[in-house]
């Protein structure tokens, strides 16, 4: 059934259909309507979950960690400074290998205070080890939430589903709400690999020595570095796992097929614009316009940012004349994080395109289609005038 609702409601509906069992969240703009909707679902009995209001985001994640450790399907959501406030617990959740799912409505970070969209919040958390999936419209939000629960419990790694604050969180558009029966058959009942079980007692995440050691039964137990190496290996393997999950999702629901990157008119393109989030859809209009003027250009949205789908990206971009990376975040003091990642991935490629970086839209600065067109035109027509340092779009002072 198609409904017209906000992106936050699309996310909440996905959480309901996924039968989350424990929800702990602290409201923060622009995520607030998502948690409000979930509390309504719980209150009305549509969702049989424990909704735990907490006094901070740090506690929200702590509750999810506890609930997940106890064997429940746990969910939270946040934005911006709220995400950063839980950062210490994010590391804990992934180190403990807990399949928590979290939505992040992307928002700029204070100071100075802003409630508007950019992606500095989640991009700055790219190294914690969580899986990061980005949605470009409401259909992708609800679908990504359902897939995220499946992925998280398959690989025992928590997953963030990120979508642009306001642009998606507060904007209304039609999307298909999947049937509960279909979601139930796609997403098996939650059965974690490890949880607090009185029948099978265990210590979780105690002090772990630098070196391996024999445990009480004489079996060699891993040290810290082995456990962290395993996390990294599992994250890398999660790329293929997600492709497989997306394939099954498509079988059940008829949607998907672009789990890692989403390409638009890239096949014969000389130039490819690359970005994360809803901007990649806005760029489609620009690309269409440039195609009418015989510029062979396409756009690629990065759907999964961590683990980084470097092989898929190299396959898509190697041999192109130019790659233009637009980012609503950056690694301060260096350059765009995605830009650096893509450059690094292309380094091993024999046919390296030129690669440019634009920073734009920070703190909700409006991204005008004309600005995108001007930037792409400059990159395509005079690539040699560019430095490695990013150019900033839309500065007025």
């Amino acid at each position: 059934m198609h409904i017209i609702e906000s992106g936050n409601v699309a996310a909440a509906t996905g959480v309901k259909l996924s039968r989350a069992q424990v929800i702990a969240a602290y409201p923060i703009t622009p995520q607030t309507p998502l948690t409000e909707k979930l509390s309504e679902f719980v209150e009305s009995g549509e969702l049989a979950a424990e909704y735990i209001p907490v006094e901070s985001e740090h506690s929200a994640m702590a509750v999810c960690i506890a609930a997940s450790t106890a064997g429940a399907r746990a969910f939270t959501a946040t934005s911006a400074n709220g995400l950063l406030y839980m950062s210490e617990q994010l590391h804990w959740a992934v180190g403990a290998r807990l399949p928590i799912v979290m939505c992040v409505a992307n928002r700029g970070i204070g100071a100075p205070w802003t409630v508007w969209n950019d992606q500095q919040d989640t991009i700055s958390q790219r190294d914690v080890g969580w899986i990061q999936i980005y949605a470009n419209d409401h259909q992708q939000i609800i679908d990504a939430v359902i897939k995220a629960f499946r992925l998280a419990q398959t690989v025992s790694i928590p997953v963030m589903v990120c979508y642009d604050g306001y642009l998606l969180s507060h904007t209304y558009m039609p999307f298909e709400e999947p049937a509960q029966s279909s979601v139930d058959s796609f997403l098996p009942t939650f059965a974690p690999t490890h949880f607090l079980d009185p029948e099978n007692p265990g210590n979780f995440n105690t002090v772990t020595l630098p070196d391996v050691r024999p445990d009480v039964e004489g079996v060699i137990a891993p040290g810290y570095i082995e456990i962290r190496h395993t996390l990294h290996q599992d994250l890398r393997a999660a790329l293929d796992t997600f492709v497989e999950i997306d394939r099954e999702f498509k079988k059940e629901f008829g949607r998907g097929g672009n789990p890692l990157i989403e390409e638009y008119r890239c096949e014969d393109a000389d130039f490819v614009a690359v970005c994360i989030g809803s901007l990649s859809y806005q760029l489609r209009d620009v690309v269409d316009g440039m195609r009418e003027n015989d510029v062979k250009i396409g756009v690629m949205g990065v759907q999964m940012y961590r683990p980084f789908p470097d092989e898929a990206i190299v396959r898509a971009l190697a041999g192109k004349k130019g790659v233009i990376v637009f980012e609503k975040a950056l690694s301060y003091g260096n350059q765009g994080a995605l830009y650096a990642d893509i450059k690094s991935a292309l380094y091993k490629s024999a046919e390296r395109p030129f690669i440019h970086n634009y920073i734009l839209g920070l703190g909700g600065r409006e991204i005008k289609t004309q600005h995108l067109l001007d930037a792409l035109t400059a990159s395509c027509t005079s690539p040699d005038t560019f430095e490695d340092a990013p150019r900033w779009i839309g500065l007025k002072l």
Partner: protein, 196 residues
């Protein structure tokens, strides 16, 4: 950049229901075959009573650009007192349409070269049995008559769905009365129904 998108900007005050009105029209447009429907409220903080606007874009194809409307084809004004505070016709395309809730006759309004349609929605809403100040269902009737974009029966159905549990019949009646009592400033007043 895309020419196939109809852009409608809704001006109201925080709490007046402009978002709900635009959402109802979005639903009715979608049911009428417009696959692309994007409705975006003012991004940021909203306060009760403060002027707000909502962007509604409608197209037969999927819409990718989520940025706010700057050059609308139509503007809908839920409260005529906003005219003193907000330039509601900012960016309005040539020969655009202004739909206005006002107790004053349409002849009192001139927006350079624009079509103006006026209905005393506040009054009609009370006639329909709604408490004073509920104008977001009624304005949809005026919009339907003036724009001809979506059929009034489809809109009324969308109103009843949205207001289920919140006086759906009275809200629907408010829209129908406003629909019948909307006047415009075209020479023969035939672009829309006759003046009363």
């Amino acid at each position: 950049m895309r020419k196939d998108i109809i852009e409608i900007r809704w001006h109201g005050r925080g709490g007046q229901g402009a978002i709900t009105a635009a959402k109802i029209v979005a639903n009715a447009a979608f049911v009428s075959g417009y696959k692309g429907v994007v409705m975006a409220p003012t991004f940021g903080t909203e306060r009760r009573g403060a002027p707000v606007f909502t962007s509604l874009k409608i197209s037969k194809e999927k819409i990718y650009d989520l940025s706010p409307i700057t050059t609308p084809d139509m503007v809908v004004v839920l409260d005529h007192t906003l005219l003193e505070e907000v330039n509601v016709v900012a960016g309005l395309k040539e020969k655009g349409l202004v739909v206005l809730n006002s107790p004053r006759p349409v002849s009192e309004y001139t927006f350079d070269g624009m079509t103006v349609a006026v209905s005393d929605v506040s009054k009609h809403a009370v006639e329909a049995g709604l408490p004073p100040g509920i104008v977001n269902s009624g304005i949809i009737g005026a919009f339907a008559k003036a724009s001809g974009l979506v059929d009034i029966d489809v809109l009324v159905q969308a109103i009843e769905n949205e207001f289920s549990g919140k006086k759906p019949e009275k809200n629907a009646r408010s829209a129908r009365i406003a629909y019948e009592n909307t006047a415009d400033n075209t020479a023969d007043n035939t672009a829309i129904g006759g003046n009363k």
